[in-house]
Symmetry: C2
Subunit: 209 residues, 2 copies
DNA sequence: GTCTATAAGGAGATAGAC
DNA sequence: GTCTATCTCCTTATAGAC
């Protein structure tokens, strides 16, 4: 890269935010890991918040672009009629999960999980995920025509929760090194679970029993 | 209560951990909210970690006991044969979700979500949730006899992720900001989604397309 | 049991040399 | 662009009066 120090800071921040959480990781720890000093992060990113935004721009936005590319391809294959729920889950989850299997890049996937998990209400989140979310809600409605738009939003939310917890939870099969489950298997299990959930019958109007 | 200050500290900590996250909330902010001083928390709980453990004992453990009571009742109703997946999701999620609708107790539900989500060390988590998790894995296998025990663990994990994300980010930007937060409706939608996921066909062995 | 006061160190941010 | 040194505020934790 043109700017090795800047890249080293981004890489170290990514790794530490992903492993320990964003709120629990200090700039000092990141700079020590990056082999640079406190002043460098302020020179390159202005502040801790600026660093976090740079990380999102570098990782979350490309993942969302990939999701929309995959969704475009699905909609091209199903110009009318019902879209398979499996395809929707795959288009949404594969771009975020596919780096988990590579020890060199697994922290990229986990960072995405941390960001979504820890900062669900921020304006930056809406800016980055808003368009993607709206597109996927429309797709979910075409996969499950029996549900309302409100319920499609809720089901997208459930799918995101399932994926994010899988990306970040310490005892997750994808994060616990003692459980040798490979990424492809986890993705297929996630697709089996979440696609059945997306296409499920409508929720009962009140307590059913 | 016998010890108003201790209770006030627990209440304030619960509220602030739930709303802002555990790692992001300082003892100082908690003591200010509780109207007490820094020394009190060390007198009553020894340390920040001790306070967190007291919170877990007060809230997470009773929720798990309630889950197991409900699961016992279900197993009594289905001494042999298949257990409905809806019943399992309801037994697991209702005790954690039921306080969301009450503004006075909503933070109790959210705290449980935060604790599971941030999972500071897996040892305490295993101690508190281990027994409950094993019982529910057995129940999931009786609701979905076609899946392996390993896959039952993964599906329990997915269900937990769906619930926890709902508890902690009920107004996530991935959802319509105007979406309903009526607790009973959310619970029924969660049951519809997760029970379909629990009972879903086996995951594909490899990429299906 | 609860307080004040303070220790001892970590946090993010900045000035200015090179 | 990167460094050292430092500022100011905040953190958990403790000692000791009452």
């Amino acid at each position: 890269m043109n700017d090795p120090t800047k890249e080293r800071i981004l890489d170290a921040a990514e790794r530490m935010f992903a492993e320990n959480g964003v709120a629990a990781t200090s700039l000092r720890a990141i700079m020590k890991e990056a082999g640079a000093n406190m002043a460098a992060v302020h020179y390159h990113f202005g502040s801790r918040e600026g660093l976090l935004e740079a990380l999102m721009a570098r990782r979350a936005e490309p993942v969302n672009r990939r999701r929309l590319e995959l969704l475009d391809a699905i909609e091209q294959r199903h110009l009318r009629g019902v879209i398979p729920a499996e395809d929707i889950v795959r288009a949404f989850c594969a771009p975020a999960l596919e780096m988990l299997g590579d020890p060199q890049r697994r922290h990229v996937s986990r960072l995405i999980g941390r960001i979504v998990m820890e900062a669900p209400d921020s304006a930056a989140m809406t800016r980055i995920f808003g368009t993607t979310a709206r597109r996927f809600v429309s797709a979910i409605q075409r996969a499950a025509p029996h549900i309302t738009e409100d319920e499609a939003w809720v089901r997208l939310h459930f799918m995101v929760g399932t994926m994010v917890f899988t990306l970040t939870a310490p005892r997750s099969p994808v994060c616990d090194p003692s459980m040798s489950v490979d990424t492809q298997t986890v993705l297929e299990q996630l697709i089996a679970f979440a696609s059945a959930g997306l296409a499920a019958p409508c929720a009962a109007e009140s307590g059913k029993e």
